[in-house]
């Protein structure tokens, strides 16, 4: 071996060792039992109670962070893109709305208990949330998307309630052409377009609308709200849950004061409890405690309005509207209704973490269930093994020992590719696996180019040594040209692709870059080492 060959050899060896060290945590991690792996995934050193525990958890977290992670499409999980609706905010509020929303959503997710959630800001008004692992999708989405604006409003008295409904009836009657007839007694539905749809109107501070009429009433209400000429010192609210009246189901309709007396920013703590409703023991509800400032305001409000009803409004739905029997000094309250235990738990979490500054909507969702993820891993590995096996077999059968050299180069390529992924904290997705498999098929091209060239040179009666030299020298330029073009399209893909597709572009690009080193450098080194040691006059190619 010449000096330069020795240097190359040690360089390669060092590279392989670095790769193996980088991949060691990944190997350790996937060698664990599934249960243990889950534990490692969920390890949160911050939750440790004593030093020993913390050290153990920190070790787990390190192992997790240093191994190649599986994408959401392989381990299952949820990808949510949220849009923050800033249309109703002032410029000052709008500036911080997204950051605030992110913070609040992060709090909620932390309390929900998801391992390694990722929450990122995207553009001006979007938040990207990635929740890996098994979870109840419906519940997670509800938790994240709920605005959770808690307000306290007074319920208007029966007289006020009826007066407002009356005005609304007249408003709609005037707008329908039939009223122009005049004098003739109008059918009920035309004289009272709104309240004719009510089963009960303005009794005990509330009205009752049958389920089938709710949508129509709601449409009329929003029509009035949109009309800026119609000034109204009140807001409307539906009760959150359906109830029964005269053995028929429907919703309670409230007329409330326009401005909230108080908002839920003042909530200090909230818990799910089962003992809140005396009539229904065991029914889940949420009890909350206000901050001391909030408590003082609450005491003032309740003191000033004894005998009236106070509506507890969450995201524009009236949760309950209890009577104020006396001044409530300590700022404690509760929300009851027909909740399931999970819903009550969610509500407690969102009340604790505060309301979002503006409503959010899910504009993109990609969820993969655990069973599909598992299938994808198996199918991906299977396809990879068969594809790689076929290529390896072909190369060895067709090029014999030289083929074996190419396969060794290929092996180093895949090793380097995986090590890069671990080193860069890249995630492995199903298209990413496809990218690796495809890299294997494309990577041997460099060696095919070289080998075909060597064969040509041999046919032209060159010596083995000269043929190897010439083969590599002439093919190199072509190899670079050919790889660069594929890289360019992979780069374009990386730039625009989302999630899994980007994973494909990443693995393909890294694979091709490494290939230019391994397929040419490493295989040439093996040839040199082999041919220089003895006087060769034949080559297995």
């Amino acid at each position: 071996m010449t000096k330069s060959d020795q240097r190359k050899f040690f360089f390669t060896l060092a590279g392989v060792i670095v790769c193996l060290i980088t991949l060691w945590p990944t190997f350790q991690f996937y060698a664990l039992s599934p249960a243990k792996r889950q534990e490692v995934l969920q390890a949160r050193p911050a939750s440790a109670t004593n030093d020993e525990d913390r050290q153990r958890l920190e070790k787990m977290a390190e192992l997790r962070d240093r191994s190649i992670k599986l994408g959401l499409d392989l381990q299952g999980g949820m990808y949510l893109l949220l849009e923050v609706d800033k249309s109703k905010l002032g410029p000052a509020e709008a500036k911080n709305a997204v950051d605030q929303a992110m913070q609040i959503i992060r709090n909620r997710i932390d309390q929900f208990g998801v391992a390694e959630p990722s929450i990122q800001k995207q553009g001006d008004n979007r938040i990207l949330i990635q929740l890996p692992g098994l979870l109840d999708q419906g519940r997670a989405k509800e938790l994240i998307g709920q605005t959770a604006l808690l307000e306290f409003k007074l319920v208007k008295s029966d007289e006020e309630h009826r007066a407002i409904l009356d005005r609304l009836d007249k408003y709609f009657a005037l707008r329908s052409s039939a009223s122009a007839a005049g004098g003739v007694a109008l059918p009920d539905s035309l004289a009272r377009p709104l309240t004719s749809r009510f089963l009960v109107a303005g009794q005990g501070g509330e009205s009752f609308v049958l389920t089938e009429n709710v949508a129509a009433v709601e449409a009329m209400i929003s029509q009035v709200r949109a009309d800026s000429a119609f000034v109204l010192d009140a807001t409307f609210g539906w009760e959150a849950h359906e109830t029964e009246r005269e053995a028929r189901t429907g919703r309670v309709f409230y007329v409330l004061t326009a401005d909230p007396l108080m908002q839920g920013k003042e909530v200090q703590s909230a818990q799910m409890r089962l003992d809140l409703d005396e009539q229904r023991p065991g029914a889940p509800g949420v009890s909350f405690t206000l901050t001391s400032r909030g408590g003082a305001t609450f005491a003032d409000i309740t003191g000033a309005n004894v005998g009236r009803r106070l509506a507890i409004v969450l995201d524009n739905r009236v949760q309950s509207a209890p009577n104020i029997n006396e001044r409530i000094p300590r700022g404690q309250g509760s929300i009851t209704g027909s909740f399931t235990e999970e819903e009550a738990q969610n509500l407690a979490i969102v009340l604790r973490s505060g309301a979002l500054p503006a409503p959010v909507t899910v504009v993109e969702e990609r969820t993969v269930g655990p069973s599909l993820g598992q299938d994808s891993i198996q199918q991906g590995l299977m396809a990879g093994a068969i594809g790689a096996g076929a290529v390896v077999l072909f190369m060895i059968v067709y090029y014999r020992l030289s083929g074996l050299v190419a396969v060794m180069a290929l092996l180093l390529n895949v090793l380097g590719l995986l090590a890069c992924m671990a080193g860069f904290h890249a995630t492995l997705t199903l298209p990413g696996i496809a990218g690796i498999v495809l890299t294997i098929g494309m990577a041997v091209d460099a060696n095919v180019l070289v080998f075909e060239r060597i064969r040509e040179e041999l046919r032209n009666k060159k010596t083995v040594l000269a043929a190897i030299e010439q083969g590599y020298a002439r093919a190199y330029r072509t190899i670079v040209d050919a790889n660069v073009t594929t890289l360019l399209s992979a780069l374009a893909l990386m730039w625009f692709g989302t999630g899994p597709v980007r994973g494909f572009a990443v693995t393909l690009s890294i694979g091709l870059i490494i290939n230019m080193i391994t397929a040419v450098g490493v295989s040439k080194m093996i040839f040199d080492a082999w041919s220089l040691r003895r006087k060769v006059n034949s080559i297995s190619i």
Binding site: E83, Q379, G380, A390, L449, S489, A492, L493, G497
Partner: protein
Amino acid sequence: MLQILHNINVDWMGKRAIAYTISGACILISVLSLILHGGPRYGVDFTGGTLVEVSVTPAPSVDNVRHAIEGAGIEGAEIQRLEKAEYFLIRMGVGASGKDPAPAVRAALEKAQEGSTVEIRRVESVGPRVGGELRGAAIKAVFLALGLILAYVAIRYDWRYSFGAVAALFHDVFIALGAVSLTNRELTLTVVAALLTIAGFSINDTIVVFDRIRERKQSLRKEPPAKIMNIAVNETLSRTVITSLTVTLTVLALFFFGGDVIHDFSFTMLVGVVFGTYSSVYVASALALDTQLWLERQGKKK
């Protein structure tokens, strides 16, 4: 020594009319298919909408699933049974249900068949605006990739060759798109990824042939261009075929064993690789030759 395609001496350029006919026919079929289908069939990635994959055990019939979905007030859903009898793919337009679609689908299916287990395997839901954005991003990426490749080829090669290379690239990508349309597959993000990979692969194959043409032009100065091209194509033919073979082997493995999720991706790649091989042998060099001959005639006229 095991060899295929050694010492071949085919007059490729002399028969280029055949290649033009085949390519023309394939492109015509692609165009017709795209016209008859009213353009590519965009997936939810680009149109917006929801796609839910469920597994229902015991497996109901497709009609039962449709009844259950319609019964839940979800209009215009498209239902497809996957390779396993229990697996169904349900596609819905934007806001087809008014509610969160996945839980609604699950509830409907559970209600329709007493005692069955319903599992949501996958949900892909894209709002209309995001769909539009993804479409824009995909178009940008395609143009960016093509632009970069064009620039690279223009720098590295004579522009007369660039035309042939780029035409071959469009030829491959377009025929792959046609095949997607012809088999009534959806154009999704992963299919676009496949199309871009085909673009890279197609030009890669072409470059190897062009490199050889350039080399032979220097060593065989006196020969006519058609002969030089024939020699270059013949000399690189074994490499072209072997490389396509190894790539095809891996793509076939993905196609048959990679599962539903990347099935369309591997299908598109498969078509692209086959046509990419053919076009770099034939379309690219033949067009480069004709460009050259045409330019020579123009030169003589003056």
